[in-house]
């Protein structure tokens, strides 16, 4: 099989040092007509500068409302192999850890029923299997689920949670990101597989303010590790950095956003009361500086892509929360958020958008959080504000 099409445009993209997706498609095209026709259609797109995909219809597996994105070529006669070309979202293990054995099993099944192409991983976090037909869906699902692999989310549902590598490898993880991610994924299985929300709801967990999973920018519920007590300093290691050529004054002290550090050429000091726990100094001097020991997470809410009211970053709602397995406090909180959102949102309204419409107060009241200064960059400016009867007592 393979080689049905001449692809002079795409061939250009096999040149150069970066690994080529064209090479990948060609590899699969040697084995599946799907991948071969995909190659042909993409080549055509490169010539005409437009895509040839129809809107997805609703396809899926029995009892589930999501996990599969229906996709059909708009040129099924020209490219019959991709008349159906649905993607299957397999829920990745937290932290994207695999064994070769498990991965090969996944690939074997995929070669049997799909295009032989994958996305490792989708932007939300799923292991995306790229291209199969409607009739293969049930079989695929049976094969995978019987081996312990389930589908991820799509549609107006809980979406597949994801997280940074966290305590598995990182010295800065203030929370067990992978355990949290796994726990909420399990806890919300029903909501993940049966879309019943006003719109999508995403959860991402980062172990510290570096936010290696971009939680603050692309999760309705962003959980970010932090600490409360003092930074621990090993002055001997500070000296080693200085000896190693680091300009501690310029690179660390002057870049501290709160100007709470000082260095006299010997001792590095932090005025912890002023520290905002931004992670800069710790990240750049990992051997010398350690976070405090009272660890937990900040809970932020609302980020999303720009469609249609403009992109949002998540907002702080709970500045600090201890998070220990089984994370019931977190699940409670998320439940309250979702319930309020579900009760109040219009269709296709994300939780951040709803908060903008309703204001923070009803949201905070719903999740039973008092107002605290950490929730704002600065207080309101204009003198137009509401009073409730409860404020008068």
């Amino acid at each position: 099989m393979g080689g049905k099409y001449k692809t002079p445009m795409l061939d250009e993209l096999e040149k150069g040092p970066w690994p080529s997706f064209v090479t990948e498609i060609k590899k699969a095209a040697k084995r599946t007509e799907m991948a071969d026709d995909e190659l042909g259609q993409v080549e055509k797109s490169y010539v005409t500068k437009r895509g040839y995909w129809k809107h997805g219809g609703i396809v899926g597996v029995l009892g589930y409302g999501g996990g599969v994105i229906g996709r059909y070529s708009s040129l099924p006669n020209e490219f019959p192999g991709i008349a159906h070309f649905h993607t299957v979202r397999l829920n990745q293990p937290s932290g994207f850890f695999y064994t070769a054995e498990a991965l090969k099993m996944i690939m074997d099944i995929w070669d049997k029923y799909g295009s032989g192409l994958t996305n490792m991983h989708g932007s939300t976090g799923d292991l995306v299997l790229l291209g199969t037909t409607t009739e293969n869906l049930e079989v695929l699902f049976a094969e995978y689920s019987s081996r312990g692999w389930d589908l991820g989310g799509s549609g107006s549902a809980m979406r597949t949670p994801s997280c940074c590598v966290g305590q598995a490898r990182c010295e800065w993880a203030c929370i067990d990101t992978m355990a949290i991610c796994n726990e909420v994924t399990q806890y919300y299985q029903d909501q993940l597989h049966r879309p019943s929300f006003p719109y999508k709801f995403k959860i991402k967990v980062a172990g510290c303010a570096c936010d290696c999973v971009a939680a603050i920018a692309r999760a309705d519920l962003s959980i970010i590790g932090t600490w409360k007590d003092n930074i621990r300093i090993d002055q001997a290691e500070v000296k080693k950095y200085a000896d190693g050529g680091m300009n501690i004054q310029a690179e660390i002290v002057e870049m501290c956003p709160t100007a709470c550090m000082s260095y006299d050429g010997k001792t590095l000091k932090v005025n912890d009361a002023q520290c905002s726990r931004c992670m800069h100094c710790i990240a750049k001097m990992t051997k010398a500086l350690k976070q405090g020991k009272v660890k937990g997470a900040s809970i932020l809410v609302g980020s999303k892509a720009p469609i249609v009211v403009g992109s949002l970053l998540s907002w702080v709602v709970v500045p600090f929360m201890e998070l220990e397995a089984p994370f019931d406090n977190l699940k409670d909180l998320a439940d309250k958020m979702i319930e309020w959102w579900d009760d109040n949102a219009k269709p296709r309204e994300r939780i951040g958008e709803l908060i903008e419409v309703k204001g923070m107060r009803p949201f905070l009241e719903a999740i039973e959080m008092p107002p605290v200064p950490q929730q704002v960059k600065y207080p309101r400016k204009d003198p137009f504000f509401f009073w409730s009867e409860s404020d008068f007592n």
Binding site: M9, T99, M107, D150
Partner: protein
């Protein structure tokens, strides 16, 4: 052949199954790490145990063949353990330092790129493009490949003032992390959709279509049983097309990409930032988008030459000011740069102090 018994709502397998012993043992007890080269690092546990990571570039679209090849290397060098990163690179997780050199040799041999660790460029977060999405007005993978070929040295060896996160979104839905990236590409339309009135009447729910438009550009047209679009108000977001396919937003001659810059997500030093518009439009030039590549290269070079150590692109720009960004990069400033979306207010300069 009978099907194996399906299970539901089991969720993903527990990650513990996939953790190498050195991780299980030292879980939550890592002390520090050191970057050894552009694509290797070692994490040292409080116990003294060490974990070596070798990071390898991936085009994200991977064939099962390649994944099997990677798995085989993992079996050979890292006891079968590997992971993927949040930016879609592959990481081999080695507990035995002596296996690093042979792994690197085999990777080199097989033309894998090792890199992306430290103050460098890592993989470009991107999404489906013409490969799979009906909404795409450019191809994501092609741009990524073209850009990364050009910037390859910054992945493998060369350093920059800090990490530079690149992203590509193939439409304004922005499934990639474009809206908070150091430098990113977002595909845009520039023309009002063309309406197939007959099909609209049949296929679409008119009220939903009308209300899908964020700028209220759409009104029902009872005569045609379709809709009309107010050209003045439409800003080509394509939301109507998502809701109602016969409203054709694609226009191969006019579709293209914009370049946005200065975003970030970490809270280190400065608050997370949205990316801001740098170049409002570059035409689609498949297969290798030379103008896009050149534009990104230019911005990156100017950043590398001007930023202080540890400054991200957005931090550098905010320090020198956007006036200087446009001057130093030579990018023309246009009406499109001036925000006229809902929240223009705070983007306009309300100060008597600025640079020329």
């Amino acid at each position: 052949m009978s099907l194996p018994e399906r299970q539901t709502d089991i969720g993903p397998p527990h990650y513990e199954k996939f953790l190498p012993p050195v991780i299980k043992k030292n879980y939550g007890k890592w002390a520090h790490h050191e970057v050894l080269s552009g694509g290797t690092m070692v994490h040292v546990a409080e116990s003294g145990d060490k974990l070596y990571t070798v990071r390898v570039a991936s085009p994200r679209i991977l064939s099962t063949d390649t994944i099997r090849e990677i798995c085989e290397m993992a079996e050979k060098y890292s006891d079968g353990y590997l992971r993927f990163t949040t930016r879609n690179n592959v990481e081999f997780l080695l507990s035995d330092q002596s296996k690093m050199a042979p792994l690197l040799a085999e990777l080199k041999d097989k033309k894998y790129s090792v890199g992306g660790i430290g103050p460098r460029i890592s993989n470009i977060v991107h999404t489906q493009g013409w490969v799979h999405c009906h909404s795409a007005c450019t191809d994501a993978s092609g741009i990524v490949k073209s850009v990364m070929d050009e910037l390859h040295d910054y992945f493998t060896t060369k350093t920059l003032p800090n990490k530079v996160r690149l992203a590509v979104a193939c439409c304004v839905n922005m499934c990639g992390a474009v809206h908070c990236s150091d430098i990113a590409v977002v595909a845009i339309h520039r023309k009002v959709p063309v309406i197939d009135h007959e099909t609209v009447g049949k296929m679409c729910e008119i009220p939903t279509t009308v209300s899908s438009c964020p700028t209220s550009a759409i009104r029902p047209n009872p005569k045609t049983k379709s809709i009309t679009i107010n050209e003045e108000k439409c800003m080509y977001c394509g939301n109507c097309f998502t809701v109602c396919p016969p409203i054709e937003i694609h226009n191969p001659q006019q579709d293209g990409v914009a370049i946005v810059v200065g975003g970030k997500v970490g809270s280190l030093r400065t608050d997370p930032k949205f990316s801001k518009l740098a170049i409002p439009y570059i035409e689609n030039e498949p297969p290798r988008w030379p103008k896009v590549v050149a534009a990104i290269k230019n911005i990156l070079d100017v950043y590398a030459a001007n930023a202080k150590k540890h400054e991200r692109v957005g931090e550098w720009i905010e320090r020198v000011g956007w006036e200087d960004f446009f001057k130093l990069t030579g990018i023309p400033f246009t009406f499109q740069h001036i925000d006229d979306f809902t929240f223009m207010r705070d983007t306009l300069r309300n100060s008597a102090a600025f640079k020329y």
